[in-house]
Amino acid sequence: MAALQMSREWIGIQQFPPATQSKLLEILGKYKEEDVSSLTVLVMGKGGVGKSSTVNSVIGERAAAVSTFQSEGLRPTLVSRSRSGFTLNIIDTPGLIEGGYVNDQAVNLIKGFLLNKTIDVLLYVDRLDVYRVDDLDRQVVTAITEAFGKEIWMKSALVLSHAQFSPPDGLNYDLFVSRRSDALLKVIRAGAQLKKQDMQGSSIPVILVENSGRCHKNESDEKILPDGTSWIPNLVKTITEISFNGSKPIHVDKKLVEGRNPNERGKRLIPLIFAFQYLLLMKPLVRAIKSDVAKESKPAWELRDSGSASRRT
C-alpha cells in the first residue's frame, strides 16, 4: 500500500506529556486487540477552522502546513505515522469554501486523491467561538454528502476548535458548547438529509479541541479543555470508538469518484414508462379529443336540414 511506504515512525508521540502518551498507547492497544493495522482519518471543513492545526496536534509535529491568513493550497495532504505495527493515516484537506461558494475543484481534487483508499473516520471541523450558522455551512455539508454519500456521516465526528473560549456575557460554557454543537448538528442533518433511522439512534459525537500554544495544562502537563478533560486522548478515543462502531467504512472507488451516473438511473424502466405514457396519457387524450368533436354543438342550419331522403315521411 502506498501509505505504508510513506509512513514514518510516530516519533511525535514522545513529545506528549507522559500521561497523554500512556493514554494514547492504551487506546492504540485496542487496534492490536481487534487485529487492525491501520486507520484512515479524513479531516474536512471550511477554510480557517483549524483542520491542519488539529492534525498537527494529534501527530505531534508540524506535519501539515497551517495557513493562518490566506487560503490554503489546493492540495490534500496525507500524513502517515506508524507505531508498533499500527499506522495512522490522516488526510488534511483544503477548505471547501472559496470566494463565498463551495469550491467544486477542491472537492474533485479530494475525491481524486482518495481514489482506492478507505475512509474509516471523517472529522468535520468548525470553530467553537462562532455564534451563527449560515447557508454556506449547509452547502459544505451537502457537498461532502454528494461526494461520498450520506453513509459517511455514520463514521463522522464534529470537531470544534478554539475550545478554550470564554463565552460572552458570562454565558455558561457547557450551555454554549451544547448550543453551538446543536446548531451545527442540525445543519449536518439538514445538509445530508439524514433521517432519524439513518443514525440508528446514536448521534454524531462532538469533540472539543484547542490547538494553540496558550492551551491550559493540568498538573500532568496535559493540554486540557476548560472543563478539565485532556483533549488529545479524548479525540483519539472518540476516533477509535467511531472506527469500531459497526458502520461500514467508506471505500472510495472509481464509481464514487466519478459519481453515480444519473443517466443510468431508471434506464431499465424506460420501455415500461413509454408503455405507461402511451396507454394512460396518449390514448385517453386522443379519445377525449374525439369526444370533444362529437359533443361540439352544431349550428342550426346543419341540424335542421339532414337531406331530402330523410325528410320523406
Partner: protein
C-alpha cells in the same frame, strides 16, 4: 322539383266555440311537373299532401301562425298576407335566400294552403377561373374541394347562405385559391330548383423569393458602428398544389452575413403531403418531411445573476431530418408522431467545436473542464428518436378573451441509435386552464369577461440526457422576470403560473405569479451546469401588466433578487 307546401287548416266558423281549433299540418311533396296552383279534387289533393315531405319551417313558427289564425274569426286576404310575410321572414333570417311563399291557396275549402319554394339544390358545380374570369381547366383535383363543402350545400338539401359561407371558409383554409365565390342561381330546367356554382381562382403554384436585409450588430462599446453592419439574405422557393392534391415542396436558405455565408447558414426544406388516407377518406392525416438546420445559443450554459463574469456562451447547432404524420381532429387539436434524426454540434463563441463548457475558476482563470456539452464527449452527437405530440385545445374566444382549456403532451423516445447508443424518454406535460369568472353576453362590442389562468408545465427525462437537451428554467415563457436559463438547467422541472385578467375600458389589466423549480435534479445533469454557473435552481416571480393591442407591458419582480423591471413583450404568455 322544388316546391313544398305549407298547409294550414282552420275551421273558421263555429269550431272555435266548441273547444279548440284543430290544426292539421300536412306536407306535400309535389311532383315534378308543376307549380301546384290547382288544388284539385279534395281526395286527389289529400293524396298529394300525404306524399309530401316536411318543410323546414320549425314547429315554433307554425304554432305562432296557428295562434295568429285562432285570434281571427275570418281568414281574410290581409291575414293570409301577414302569415305569408311571416313565413318569408323566417326563411330569409335563417339564410334560405331562395325561399319564398309562392301562393296562398284557395279560400273556399276548409284548408288554407301556402306554397313555399324553399330553394332545393339540384346541382353543385365547381368551376375554375383564371384572373380574367374565363373558365379554365383547374390544376386542383375536384375531390379535395368537394370534401370541404358541408353536406348541406349538396343536391338534396335546401340552399342556405350560412352553409355557403362555411364552405367558403373551409375552401379558403386549403390555401390554394386566391378567390372563392359561390353563386347560387335558379335552375331553369327544374322549377324552383337552385344550382350552386362555386367559382375558384387558383393561386400561383410556384413562387421564388430572394430577400436581403441589413442586421445591425453591436460593435465596440455596444453601439452599432459602420463597420459592423451586416447584410443578410435569404432565398426561398415554394412549389404548391403538386398533382392538384395540395402537396407542397418548400425550401429556404438563409444567411445572416452575405459576405461570408458559411458563418451562419441555415436552411429548411419541407415536403407536405396531405390526405394520407386518400382524398375520399374523411380522416385528415398529413405526412410531412423536413430537412433542416439551425443554431441557437444554449441557455444551459449561461450564468446566474451572481455570476459577475459573463459565462462563455456555447451554441448548439442541429442538422437533421424529420418525418412525421399529423392528424388534425379540429382546427386546434391534433396528434403528431414521427421520427427525427439529428446531428448536434456544440461550439464555443469562436465557432470551434467545444466538448466542455468553460468554467471560471475562483482565482479568475478559465478552465476548460466545465460540464460536458454532449453525450459522446466529443462535441458532436448523432441521435435518432421517435417524437410524438398530442395537443388537445378547447379554447375559444369570448368577446376577444381566451377561455377554455389546453393540454399538451410531448414525448421524445430514444431508440438506442446514435452516439453512445442513447436510450432515453424525455417527456413534457403542459396544462393550461382559462377559467371564465363571470358570465357575459357574447357579441361584438361587448366587454370581455374576467379570466383566471392556471398553468402547469412538468418536464422530465429518464435515461441518457446530454446537457443541451436539459430543461431550462427562467425566461419569458418559463418564469417571467428572469432571463432564459437564469434559474438553472435540470433533468426534471416543474413550472407553475397563475394570472388574473380583468377587462378595463377597452384593454386588459392583469396580475400574475409564477414559480419554477428543478425538483433537486440539477445535479443529475452531467457536470451540474446549474451549480457550476452559480444558479439557484428555483425561483418565483410576480407582477402586473397591461395589454396594449398586440403588446404587453408588464412589471415583473424576481423573488430571488427582489428586484423588479419593466418588460415589453409581443404575443401571449400562455
Amino acid at each position: 322539383m322544388g316546391t313544398s307546401v305549407v298547409v294550414v287548416e282552420a275551421e273558421v266558423v263555429g269550431m272555435v266555440i266548441f273547444g279548440g281549433i284543430c290544426f292539421l299540418w300536412l306536407f306535400q311533396r309535389p311532383s315534378r311537373t308543376r307549380n301546384s296552383h290547382r288544388i284539385g279534387i279534395l281526395t286527389d289533393y289529400k293524396r298529394r299532401i300525404e306524399k309530401a315531405r316536411p318543410c323546414l319551417l320549425p314547429g315554433t313558427v307554425q304554432r305562432e301562425m296557428m295562434l295568429m289564425l285562432r285570434d281571427e274569426r275570418r281568414v281574410g286576404a290581409r291575414l293570409l298576407r301577414k302569415i305569408g310575410d311571416r313565413v318569408n321572414r323566417w326563411y330569409q333570417e335563417n339564410g334560405y335566400a331562395f325561399a319564398q311563399v309562392m301562393n296562398f291557396g284557395s279560400l273556399n275549402s276548409k284548408e288554407v294552403v301556402f306554397e313555399v319554394v324553399e330553394g332545393d339544390i339540384t346541382k353543385l358545380v365547381i368551376q375554375f377561373h383564371d384572373k380574367l374570369g374565363n373558365v379554365v381547366e383547374g390544376n386542383t383535383q375536384v375531390p379535395i374541394v368537394h370534401r370541404e363543402i358541408p353536406k348541406q350545400l349538396r343536391p338534396g338539401h335546401v340552399l342556405n347562405m350560412k352553409a355557403a359561407s362555411q364552405a367558403v371558409k373551409n375552401i379558403h383554409s386549403l390555401g390554394l385559391f386566391s378567390n372563392i365565390e359561390i353563386y347560387p342561381r335558379l335552375d331553369e330546367k327544374n322549377e324552383g330548383g337552385v344550382i350552386v356554382e362555386i367559382k375558384l381562382t387558383e393561386a400561383d403554384q410556384k413562387s421564388a423569393e430572394v430577400s436581403t436585409e441589413w442586421s445591425i450588430v453591436p460593435g465596440r462599446g455596444g453601439y452599432p458602428s459602420l463597420a459592423s453592419f451586416q447584410p443578410g439574405g435569404s432565398v426561398a422557393f415554394e412549389h404548391r398544389n403538386i398533382c392538384g392534391l395540395n402537396r407542397s415542396l418548400m425550401g429556404s436558405v438563409t444567411t445572416s452575413n452575405l459576405l461570408s455565408p458559411e458563418d451562419d447558414l441555415s436552411f429548411k426544406f419541407d415536403y407536405v403531403h396531405p390526405y394520407l388516407d386518400g382524398v375520399y377518406n374523411p380522416r385528415n392525416r398529413i405526412f410531412k418531411m423536413s430537412f433542416f438546420n439551425n443554431s441557437k445559443l444554449s441557455p444551459v450554459f449561461t450564468g446566474g445573476p451572481s455570476c459577475e463574469e459573463a459565462v462563455p456562451p456555447i451554441s448548439v447547432d442541429r442538422v437533421g431530418l424529420k418525418a412525421n404524420i399529423t392528424e388534425n381532429f379540429t382546427r386546434q387539436s391534433k396528434f403528431t408522431y414521427g421520427l427525427v434524426l439529428e446531428e448536434i454540434t456544440t461550439r464555443d463563441e469562436n465557432s470551434q467545436i467545444s466538448a466542455n463548457g468553460l468554467r471560471i475558476l475562483p482565482s479568475g482563470g478559465i478552465s476548460v473542464d466545465g460540464p460536458p456539452t454532449t453525450l459522446s464527449g466529443t462535441g458532436i452527437d448523432r441521435v435518432a428518436f421517435l417524437q410524438a405530440n398530442i395537443t388537445r385545445d378547447n379554447t375559444k374566444f369570448v368577446n376577444g378573451a381566451i377561455v377554455g382549456e389546453r393540454t399538451i403532451f410531448q414525448v421524445d423516445q430514444g431508440l438506442g441509435i446514435g452516439s453512445k447508443f442513447p436510450l432515453f424518454n424525455r417527456h413534457q406535460l403542459t396544462l393550461t386552464r382559462f377559467i371564465q369568472l363571470k358570465h357575459v353576453e357574447e357579441g361584438s362590442g361587448r366587454p370581455q369577461p374576467p379570466v383566471l389562468v392556471l398553468h402547469g408545465h412538468y418536464g422530465g427525462c429518464v435515461g441518457d440526457l446530454p446537457s443541451y437537451d436539459a430543461f431550462v428554467l427562467g425566461g419569458p415563457y418559463s418564469v417571467r422576470g428572469y432571463t432564459m436559463g437564469e434559474l438553472g438547467a435540470a433533468r426534471n422541472i416543474l413550472e407553475l403560473g397563475a394570472e388574473v385578467r380583468i377587462p378595463v375600458k377597452n384593454t386588459q389589466v392583469y396580475a400574475f405569479a409564477e414559480h419554477g423549480n428543478d425538483l433537486g435534479s440539477s445535479k443529475d445533469v452531467k457536470g451540474n451546469p446549474t451549480a457550476v454557473y452559480r444558479r439557484v435552481g428555483h425561483g418565483s416571480s410576480y407582477g402586473l401588466g397591461v395589454k396594449l393591442g398586440q403588446v404587453r407591458a408588464e412589471y415583473a419582480v424576481d423573488h430571488n433578487g427582489g428586484t423588479g423591471a419593466l418588460f415589453l413583450r409581443f404575443g401571449e404568455r400562455y
